[in-house]
Amino acid sequence: MNPILEIKNLHTKIGDKEIIKGLNLTVNPGEVHAIMGPNGTGKSTLANVIAGKDGYEVTEGEIWFNGKNILELDPEERALEGIFLGFQYPVEIPGVSMTNFMKAAIDAQRKYKGLDPIKPGEFLKMYREKQELVNMPDKIKNRSVNEGFSGGEKKRNEIFQMAMLNPKLAILDETDSGLDIDALRSVAEGVNKLRSNDNAFIVITHYQRLLDYIVPDIVHIMYDGKIVKTGDKELAKELEAKGYDELVASN
C-alpha cells in the first residue's frame, strides 16, 4: 500500500523565522491522524504548506502526495490532485454565492479529469445530497460564501465543501475551535460519514474533545516545529491528563 502523504524532513520558514524544523509524517489510505500541540508550534503552518499557500519558504525536505512531489505545484493543482484544507478561519467572499462557488470548484475538478461541466440538474441533486449529509441548512446556498455565517455555520460549511469535493486527503485545521458541543458533534458526524478506505484525514486540534467524536488511528504531538511523540488514540487522553509540558518534558 502506497502512502497518500509522505513528508520527509520538512523545514519551513516565514520570513527569517524557521517554523517547521525537520518534520516527518506518513499518512496511509483509510487513516485518520490527529496532530495536537500548543499554540505556535507550527500546526497551521504545516497545513498551509501542504496546501501550497504563498508566503512560506520550504528550505529543506520533501512532500509527496500520491507518489508525486507537490512542492512545485500551485494551490489549485494540489487541490485538484485531491488535497482539501478545512480552514481554521474560513474566508468571507462577498458577492460569490455558495452555489456558484461550488459549481466553479466542481467544474474545475471535472475539467482536470477531462470531463464536461456538470449539468445543472445533476449539480443541484448532488448539492442537496451533501447538504443533508452534513446537516447544512438549505437557506445558506443562496448566500455569499461564509458572509454573515455564524462560527458553527462556517465550520460546517467547510465540511460541506469537503463532501462536495470528495478529496483523497482532508486536512482539518482546528475545525473544532469556537464550536459548541452540538456543532462539534455534527461536524464530526459529517467527517465520519465521509471516512473510507481510500481517503485519509489529518485533524489538527488543541483538545482531546473533538477526538471523542472523530476517533483517530494515530495521534501526533507537535512541539516547536517537530513531531515529538506519536501514538494511538490513548496518547490524546494521556495528553489531556498530563498537559503538554509534562508530556514534552518526559520525551
Partner: protein
C-alpha cells in the same frame, strides 16, 4: 495647444456660416459660450477638477471639426444592447441625428428626434429650457459644446406618458480624427416615465475628441432611468456631461458602465429643486492599459425631504487611472435631506491609480449624510481560499472581481438589461471585450 487654436480660428472664420438659420436665442447662447471659451480655454492640470486628468495627448492633435454630416446611413443599427426589448431606437453619429424620421410626433404626443430640427420647429418650447442648466457650468468643455454643437437628440414626453423606452446608439465613426459635439435636450413633463439605454460606441481606430452634453428636466413625479454603456476605442476621449433639474417627487436613476476608452469622463449635475425627490446615481468603471475614467458628480439639495445616493465602483488594471470627485451640497432650507456617497476601488497593479475625492457641504441642521471611499487590492486570503478549492488563480481573481461589480449591476431595474450587462462585464474582466472593426457592443453581446 493646437486643438484650442484650431477651434478658435475655425469659429472666428466660420461664425456666420456655422450659426446661420438658427433662432436668435440659440445664437446668443452660442456667442456667449464662445466668448467664455475664448477666455478660459481648454481645461488644464491647474484647474481644480482637472488636476488628475491630463489632456495633453488630445490638445496637441489636429481634430477635424465635424460640422458637416459625415454619416454612412448603411452603418446604422437598430439597437445597441438589447435586441429583444421593444424600444424606440435612435442613432447619433458624429454629432448628428441619423435616420429617416429626423423629428416626429408619436401618437401619444411624444416629440422625438433631431435637436437641430426641434430648435427650428419648436423654438418656443426649446427656448424655455435650452442652456438653462449648462450656462453657469465652470467646465469649458460645456462652453465648447454650446458654441459648436449642430445637432443631437430632442425628447419631449408630455404629461401622463409612463411607458417610453429609448435606445440611443451614439457612435464616433468619422474617417478622420474628429472633434464631435452632441447636444441633447430631454423634457419629462409631470407624471411621466422613461427608460434610456445608451451605448457610446466607436468603430474606427481614429482618435476622436467628443463632448456629449445633455440637459434633462424632470417635472413633478417624472421618473427617468438612464443606463449608459461606454465602449470606445483606445485612442479617443469622450466627455459626457449630464445636467438634471429634478422637481417635486420626481425620481432619477442613472447607471453608467464605463467599459473602455482612452479617456472617459462623466460629469453629472443634479439640481434637486422640489420636495421628496429621489436621485440614485450608480457607476462601474473598468479600465486597463493606459486608460483613464473620471466621474465627477455634483448634487445640490435646495428643497427639503429629498434623498440622493451616489455609488461608484471601479477596477483599475495596468497603468490605468481613475478620478472620482463627488460633491453633495445641502442648502439651508433642505432639511430632512438624506444624502449618501460611496466610492470603492480595486487596484490590480502598483501602477494603477485612483484619486477619490468626496465632498460634503451642509448648511441645514437636520440631515443625514454620509460619504466614504475605499481602495484596496485583491483579497489574498480569499484568493487562496478559492484556489484551494481547485479554481485557477485567474478564475479565482475573476470571481472576486465579478463579485465586486455585483452591487452595481444588481441595481438595474430593467430586467432585460441584467443578463447582457453581466455578460458585458464578464467579458470585459476576462479581456475578451476589445475593439472590433464594426461595433464593439454588438460583438460583445453575440
Amino acid at each position: 495647444m493646437k486643438l484650442q487654436e484650431n477651434i478658435l480660428s475655425y469659429i472666428t472664420q466660420n461664425q456666420s456660416k456655422l450659426w446661420q438659420g438658427l433662432p436668435d436665442f440659440v445664437t446668443t447662447e452660442k456667442q456667449k459660450a464662445f466668448q467664455k471659451f475664448q477666455q478660459k480655454g481648454l481645461p488644464t492640470l491647474k484647474d481644480e477638477k482637472w488636476r488628475k486628468t491630463n489632456l495633453k495627448e488630445f490638445v496637441n492633435r489636429y481634430y477635424h471639426p465635424a460640422f458637416n454630416e459625415i454619416i454612412n446611413q448603411n452603418n446604422l443599427i437598430d439597437n445597441c444592447l438589447v435586441p429583444d426589448l421593444e424600444t424606440y431606437n435612435i442613432n447619433l453619429v458624429n454629432g448628428f441625428f441619423a435616420g429617416k424620421n429626423t423629428l416626429e410626433v408619436l401618437n401619444n404626443g411624444i416629440i422625438i428626434g433631431s435637436f437641430n430640427k426641434a430648435i427650428k420647429s419648436y423654438p418656443e418650447l426649446v427656448k424655455s429650457y435650452f442652456n438653462r442648466l449648462v450656462q453657469n457650468s465652470d467646465n469649458p468643455l460645456n462652453d465648447l459644446n454650446t458654441a459648436l454643437f449642430t445637432d443631437g437628440l430632442f425628447v419631449f414626453v408630455p404629461k401622463g406618458i409612463t411607458s417610453f423606452k429609448l435606445q440611443i446608439t451614439h457612435k464616433l465613426d468619422a474617417k478622420v480624427d474628429a472633434l464631435i459635439n452632441v447636444r441633447n435636450l430631454i423634457i419629462l413633463e409631470e407624471h411621466t416615465q422613461m427608460d434610456i439605454i445608451q451605448c457610446d460606441d466607436s468603430n474606427m481606430h481614429r482618435s476622436h475628441f467628443a463632448t456629449f452634453v445633455s440637459e434633462v428636466f424632470l417635472k413633478e413625479k417624472a421618473r427617468l432611468n438612464w443606463y449608459k454603456y461606454q465602449n470606445i476605442n483606445n485612442v479617443s476621449s469622450l466627455f459626457s456631461n449630464n445636467f438634471y433639474q429634478v422637481e417635486k417627487e420626481a425620481e432619477l436613476y442613472t447607471n453608467s458602465f464605463e467599459m473602455n476608452g482612452k479617456l472617459l469622463r462623466n460629469e453629472q449635475f443634479a439640481d434637486i429643486t422640489g420636495k421628496d425627490v429621489k436621485v440614485d446615481l450608480y457607476g462601474l468603471y473598468l479600465a486597463d492599459k493606459k486608460q483613464q475614467t473620471d466621474n465627477v458628480i455634483f448634487i445640490s439639495h435646495s428643497s427639503e425631504g429629498s434623498y440622493s445616493n451616489q455609488k461608484f465602483k471601479g477596477i483599475l488594471d495596468d497603468s490605468a487611472k481613475g478620478f472620482f470627485n463627488g460633491q453633495i451640497l445641502v442648502k439651508k432650507d433642505a432639511q430632512q435631506t438624506n444624502a449618501y456617497q460611496k466610492n470603492d476601488n480595486i487596484l490590480l497593479t502598483d501602477k494603477a491609480r485612483i484619486s477619490s475625492q468626496p465632498f460634503l457641504e451642509i448648511y441645514a441642521d437636520d440631515v443625514s449624510c454620509s460619504h466614504g471611499s475605499t481602495t484596496g487590492q485583491i483579497d489574498e486570503e480569499a484568493l487562496f481560499y478559492i484556489r484551494q478549492r481547485g479554481i485557477s488563480k485567474r478564475d479565482a481573481q475573476l470571481l472576486q472581481l465579478y463579485a465586486f461589480t455585483g452591487e452595481i449591476i444588481e441595481t438595474i431595474k430593467l430586467h432585460a438589461l441584467i443578463e447582457p450587462t453581466k455578460d458585458l462585464v464578464k467579458k470585459r474582466l476576462n479581456g475578451e471585450l476589445d475593439i472590433c472593426e464594426d461595433c464593439i457592443l454588438q460583438c460583445a453581446v453575440k
